[in-house]
Symmetry: C2
Subunit: 194 residues, 2 copies
């Protein structure tokens, strides 16, 4: 088990409805040591690729994304969530993203000024469950004619459909910790070869 | 002029209504070089104090806050914005924060698990204008019986009331760039002794 997995076992709390609460070190209080370990692993996996930008979605993706961007010495770009608009705007890329946890659909936006066909983007997020956020960001990268260099996730709930959906799109996904199950209030990780 | 001020002059765009758009390097696309310079200056100013936590508010405060927290080797805590609730909850600190730009009042929350009377907190944000966000965070620190070690701001609009209000509360404020005026579409900084 890696450092993030150790922290999940030590400080994560399993809640009803397959919720894993990691508020104490990942998405409310953030432990920079966890961030540094996570970024080191992303660099090992994505570090030899051509990456021009790190992209994420507000709010909890921002911390790992900016720290990775600092190591790669490229800009970080975070998508903002707005109310679904009735009218498209010409100055931005948009994608609808549904959050199953909050049961809310957001319009996720990136200004066209900061993403174009010359970009090669690593998409970063704290969690992968149904894959809506990562797929929405990949959709925006595609709209710009840019390339997804990879998708880096801190915690993947491998028993939910996100992993499969991202693989089916042909994207290179690297999740630092992959959770096989949260049954009976216990965290079980996938083995490396699963 | 420091590095942030150089970037404001080069890439900032003044919009009607005293709006300074710095989307290209501070709060949509984020340049990690700007973050590193900003953090270096915060360390110079706050580095010799006892700091147990860096605190900010989602979303654009997160990048400078996590990078400062990583240097100080302390946790970063970011307040979440929710709809104003009709009922207080016992497990969290809350403060109402009004955004003049968006004309929205949010309920800003921090879980009681992560802040207590032993904490000494540096509050970080990207902008200071009317001071609502910083004062809301200071209010939460007070509710916890903790201490505000200082308030660190990237860009202060010194012609708006936030600076004065924070000083009147007796807080130690350090803003990296202080804007005297945005009149006629031009950025004018305060001199160091103003």
């Amino acid at each position: 088990v890696n450092y993030l997995e150790q922290r999940i076992l030590k400080d994560g709390v399993v809640k009803p409805g397959n919720v894993l609460k990691v508020d104490s070190f990942l998405n409310h209080q953030i432990d920079p040591i966890v961030m540094e370990e996570v970024v080191t692993e992303f660099i090992e996996y994505f570090g030899d690729r051509k990456v021009t930008k790190v992209m994420t979605i507000e709010a909890s993706g921002i911390a790992p994304a900016i720290m990775l961007a600092a190591k790669l010495k490229v800009p970080m770009l975070f998508a903002k969530k707005t109310e679904p608009a009735t009218m498209e705007r010409e100055d931005r890329y948009e994608s609808l993203v549904h959050s199953y946890t909050k049961d809310v659909t957001s319009n996720v936006i990136i200004s066209k000024e900061y993403l174009d066909a010359s970009d090669s983007v690593v998409i970063i997020d704290d969690f992968l469950a149904n894959g809506e956020a990562a797929l929405g960001l990949a959709d925006i990268v595609e709209q710009a004619g840019a390339e997804v260099a990879g998708v880096g996730i801190c915690i993947e709930k491998s028993f939910q459909p996100g992993h499969q959906l991202i693989k089916e799109k042909g994207l290179d996904l690297h999740s630092i910790s992959r959770i096989a199950s949260l049954d009976n209030g216990e965290v079980t990780f996938l083995k490396d070869d699963e």
